[in-house]
């Protein structure tokens, strides 16, 4: 794993859960290409979980810790169903439980939340009895994970945890190599003329 230089004060288990969800969406993989085998860093290696945590705590109501609890509860119901445990209410799920699930089961736990297959009254506030918010947050996890991973965020290096105005692009972001994006440009000369000009329509 690449080194983190500016860790924040999220609970260790909250971090584990966010790492676990990012790992499902964008895992590290070995790919084959015409030139041979290549390794691709996943979202955990590029600290996208940290990006999610920072953004969730920048919302009008901070949600990083509550979202982690939401994932734990879903994981709990996943375990309960699998091992036929007696009651969801008999003991609380332990923090970080979601991160203990294998990848495939983590995905099922996310789907379970998305499909609202958890007792909504057991969830932490503000998710409690709020199905729309649950679905919006699941959508946001996907959207922000992809946006963080494929944008320049990791390239901010040791400034990436700073407030936005105090970040600088330190390195060429690794994910740009995975898409072939050359980065911001002053221009491209791929000009192939005009199919239509306004002056052609003056007689309209």
């Amino acid at each position: 794993m690449l080194s983190s230089t500016n860790p924040r004060n999220w609970a260790y288990t909250t971090r584990l859960n966010f790492m676990a969800i990012v790992d499902v969406l964008i895992p590290s993989i070995v790919r084959t290409s015409p030139s041979g085998w290549t390794f691709q860093y996943g979202g955990v290696d590029l600290y996208v979980w940290e990006y999610l945590l920072m953004l969730f705590d920048n919302l009008p109501t901070p949600l990083a810790s509550e979202t982690s609890q939401l994932l734990d509860l879903s994981a709990f119901y996943e375990y309960q169903e699998r091992y036929n445990l007696l009651s969801a209410y008999s003991f609380p799920p332990c923090n970080g439980l979601f991160s203990t699930l294998p990848r495939k089961d983590r995905l099922m736990a996310i789907d379970r939340l998305h499909n609202l297959q958890v007792p909504l009254d057991t969830l932490p506030v503000p998710y409690q009895n709020n199905p729309v918010l649950i679905r919006i947050m699941i959508d946001s996890i996907y959207q922000l994970t992809y946006f963080g991973y494929y944008s320049e965020w990791f390239g901010y290096g040791d400034t990436r945890c700073n407030p936005p105005s105090f970040r600088q692009l330190r390195t060429y972001p690794i994910s740009w190599t995975y898409t072939g994006y050359p980065g911001p440009s002053f221009g491209y000369r791929d000009f192939r003329g005009f199919l239509l000009k306004m002056q052609n329509l003056k007689s309209e």
Partner: protein, 562 residues
Amino acid sequence: MQKQDVIVIGAGGGGAVIAKELGEQGLHVLILEAGPWYGNKMWPHPNTEAGGVSSRCPNDLDVGLFKENYNRLENNMNNQITGKLRWGPANREHPPWNRSYQQRGFVWQNSGVGGTTQHYLANSPRAFPASIDSEWPLTYHELVPYYEKVEAELPVEFAPTTSKEELFYFGARKAGWDLLATLNVEAPGFRPQPNAILPPNANFLNPAYSEEQLSWMEGCTLAGHCINGCPIGPSVDKIAKRSTNVSYVPLALKTGNVEILPNTFSYNIITEYHPEEGLKAIGVKVRNTWTGVRDELFADCIIVAAGAIETPRLWLNSSLPVNQWVGRGLVNHQMDMVTGIFNEKDLLPILGCSEVNPFVGHTSGARLDHPGLGSIQTIGTSPGLMASFTYALGKSGATQSEQYGIQKGRVMGKELIELMGDYKSSLNILICTDDEVDIRNGVSVLTETPDENGPIPSIRYTPTTNTLRKKRKLVKIAADILLQARARKVIHSDWPDGMMIHIMSTMRMGYVVDQNCESFQVNRLFIADNSVLNNGLGSANPTLTTQAIAVRTAEQIYKKYF
């Protein structure tokens, strides 16, 4: 501060236009803008320091500061929570302003001088004539002179062709569609996007100039940063993509009669009862977003141009008279995305090169219009936006559609990595449906959850059956064009219904305001944003029509009250 003739709330697509028009008539205009002002010497560090109070001088505009802020990095610019172009106060130590949603999705808007035009694609099609003539209190014919004036002022030109437009035109022709050489669309066909982007200058292909040198000259450099906030140009008023902060705002300042207060949230319209005029608007209560200091400002006319969510919120939070259409009838063009992935060997004979390169050229340079159904348009963004809008937003996991032979829904893991590995060989098509007005859709306020500016907006939207039927047909048309262009794979993103990007019709003309955009119930209160649009324009991007109507409204205000 001198006494104002007019106060305009909001410096976005509509507010900047009406301020410039009224300023040219000699009226003293004060614009109140809730967000920051990028590229103005009075606010050298707009996201970290409070800066000055107001600006009214064109010499305050500074292209160096502008380029420093619009730095073309997509997370820096477009992150909806902390990016420069977000919906929230200038101070990035504070979160975005809150909204409550009654369905999956989100509203994508910017605060700041220029409003959401800061990241809009500058697409400037006129409404479909049939969509105006069938329902509006104005005729299309009456709107044409105002369209022409705005088109000349911005100016609007057809987009140049780069690889992705070439590929779209190839597919559209093969699919049997004709070129539509018109601004007044009455039949289906494809065409280059009419948009408010300056054409490349005469030296664009001259190798004696580097790309960096060209970026300081007048004209688009096809750099592909429309959606990230365009910084290309020699001065603020000559920036290539004509967001209103670089088009109408400098023109407004040049009149010498327009003053702009950024960082100023308007949270209440002040009214009084006049024995002859009846209820009339006389002022605005505001809050400085840095200091929290509140103030009251007064003028002869109040123009609200705060956007299709905040304008009804402001009405409702000001306890103005009850009108069953206030906040109602929201349309958002029920958008979706269809994406083609191409093989390099198939692209070569069509394009003369083996890549589409979606990051090159205008973010949206080509479209197909289909009156009665809606429009589709090419979209080419930087990779973070591409991944998040194309592959993250499906309503459910990926499935294979038997009906059209295309894949539908969200992708992840290895499949996402492989699809983004084909980023340079991908072409996105955005679906904009001719969305029907339904009174059940719209904006209300949640009195139990106020923020510092009052009860927050609550947004409810469910598309009608007819809207969804039209969307399905447009998805099929888009997929067919991609397949005709020899796409190896086609993916339909299947966006949730509440993706609100073209938000309009929440204060409808003929229902909340008259044909001059004056409130039926509060005299001297005008509206000049997307909310007055009577319907979804048949699917055309709303900005140009809002701007044309703002020009007309300025005429009417001057005639009636000054």
